[in-house]
Amino acid sequence: MLEPTSQGASSAPGAAAAVTHARFPGLARRLPWLVLALLAAFPLLAPAFGLEYYVGFVRRVLIVAIAATSLNFILGYGGMAALGHAGFIGVGAYTVVALVEAGFSSAWLAWGSAALVAGLAAAAIGAVSLRTRGVYFIMITLAFAQMLYYLAVSLRTWGGDDGYGLYTPLELGAWLDGAHAQVFYWVVLVIAAAVFALFSRVAHSRYGHALRGIRDNEMRMVALGYPVYGLKLAGFVAAGAVAGLAGGLLASHNAFVSPSIMHWTQSALLLVMVMLGGAGRRWGAPLGVALWLTLEEVLKLYTDYWHWPLGLLLLLVVFHAPQGVAALLERRGGREGAR
């Protein structure tokens, strides 16, 4: 699954992409669709290879990739290093818990509310945090996420420290429920593809270019008359809402919500996965998430000591591929093209 996406990485603008386009006309354009088709067929093919267990795993990768894609948008394109993104995932997940506790059972209502409430939380947190810069921004987003964490720990009506079990799955709507055992997988896939396509498009829109301008030289964008604060806040709110949506999906995926999903190490992990894949690269977030979670899954099969190889991987990336894996693959594509 990683191989095809690696090819897709070369579809980003630049000399490499041009060469790829020349050598394989249309391939780069078709690859995202090929990946999508493979992912869509996976639940049907998996039983034939005895991989049923991994349908759930891929579903989790897709959900985390949704959150990571939203973080990549503000981090990679907006230059906002938020170390509290898991907080919005938590807000989304607990919104679902609140609605279930109140007796609602519609999945769409729950997930939509999750995005909405997380977006509102992001508006409030962003309005304060975006007044700070650099390390102080990292720290203040972390502080707000920690506040949300402690709030969740103490709210005993929603399980507090022990978490909250969602015993009956949410209802998707008339014909979807019970249509197939894996219908939730396809729902997640469609949402993930839509989120990915949306952010890819926005990144290359006028707004996306303005955001990149702010990342590279904020003073200059202010001088040019751009409403810098408002543009950043808009991106922050959008990313928060999408992270909330991912949180809502994660609540359904795990059928369980506990404060640990918004512990600060989860925020750090999200940041790490985006940077591993390549911040500010189109395929950075999904690549990073797929690579990290797959390695974690595989290493866990063989050893209890699965942290240190991942730590070593991070050091290798820092010293040998500081732009992330996506950039590494793009560069390799360029070299091949030059030959």
């Binding site: 650099g134 402690y150 103490s154 709210l155 000591y305 942290h307 820092v318």
Partner: protein, 306 residues
């Protein structure tokens, strides 16, 4: 809630604040001088705690355990500085986060491999096991008094080192303007290595002293790292004086919040609401303090760079 309880809690807050200061001092110096965000600082604290707990258990000599813990941790830190940190000084903060997060993962697995997953139970030294009467009617654990004494002594020593010695002058020069210090002929490489080792020694000392009154377990480094980061942000990154003031503030606010907020809330709110809200507000207090300080003084209480 009587005067004795309040006084006891204030002493607890002072002790916690001083231990936070030991960790934050190294963090703020590394951050201020080398412009390096070292998330793995908590791992050095963990190393100190584990080594001290084990040596104390084996030898029965607490002072020896603390000394060995500091020595071993400084040696580990020197290796880590030489292999990894040295190459991160001029890199982006996010890259430093990535690399030092990697070090955390490696450190946690190393501890697991050497000492196992189960938390260690570190005992207080036998001579300091009992309470002492501070004055009539106030018994206070003598070990916690040692903590306060040691914290104050180290703070004083650090003050003298930074403000009255030549190496301290170089450190301050590096913190307030690194480039200028380099141009004036300061060999920053040596100063960096010294500062990193000093920070490691302080973190290990804090770990060794905290071991008997906290859980010695994997993840303790990550748990203490966040309050320490809050301290250096409140105090102003790079300022040891700021770290001292902020550490005491955070220590007091955190301890007071946990001790006084729940009973205070119970007095004014219905019990079910108070039971939910009390612990939440106590946990949040320190972050509210940070947000308030950053709103009023965006560069912290004592900005090191002028």
């Amino acid at each position: 809630m009587d005067a004795i309880f309040v006084f006891e809690q204030l002493l607890n807050g002072l002790g916690y604040g001083l231990m936070l200061f030991l960790i934050a001092a190294g963090l703020t110096l590394v951050f201020g001088i080398m412009d390096t965000m070292n998330l793995a600082h908590g791992s050095l604290y963990m190393a100190g705690a584990y080594v001290a707990a084990r040596v104390h258990e084996a030898s029965g000599a607490f002072a020896l355990a603390v000394a060995v813990a500091v020595g071993v941790t400084v040696a580990i830190a020197a290796v880590v500085e030489f292999v990894v940190i040295r190459r991160l000084y001029r890199r982006d903060h996010l890259v430093q986060v990535l690399a030092t997060f990697g070090i955390i993962l490696i450190a946690d697995d190393a501890v697991k491999a050497i000492w196992g997953v189960a938390p260690l139970l570190a005992s207080t030294p036998a001579a300091l096991a009992g309470p002492v009467d501070l004055f009539q009617g106030l018994p206070y654990p003598s070990y916690r008094l040692l903590l306060i004494g040691a914290g104050l002594a180290v703070a004083l020593g650090l003050y003298l080192l930074v403000n009255k010695t030549r190496i301290g002058m170089l450190v301050r020069a590096g913190a307030s303007n690194r480039q200028m210090a380099e141009h004036m002929g300061v060999r920053v490489g040596g100063v960096f290595a010294f500062v990193f080792a000093l920070g490691a020694a302080l973190a290990a000392l804090a770990g060794a002293l905290m071991a008997p009154i906290s859980a010695v377990q994997i993840g303790m480094g990550e748990a203490i790292l966040i309050p320490a980061l809050v301290v250096i942000v409140i105090g102003g990154i790079g300022s040891v004086r700021g770290a001292f003031v902020a550490a005491l503030l955070v220590g007091m606010v955190d301890t007071a919040g946990r001790a006084f907020l729940p009973p205070a809330l119970r007095a004014v709110l219905p019990p079910s609401v108070a039971a939910d809200l009390g612990p939440a507000l106590a946990g949040i207090a320190m972050y509210v303090l940070m947000a308030a300080v950053l709103t009023l003084k965006p560069a912290g209480l004592f900005p090191a760079r002028g």
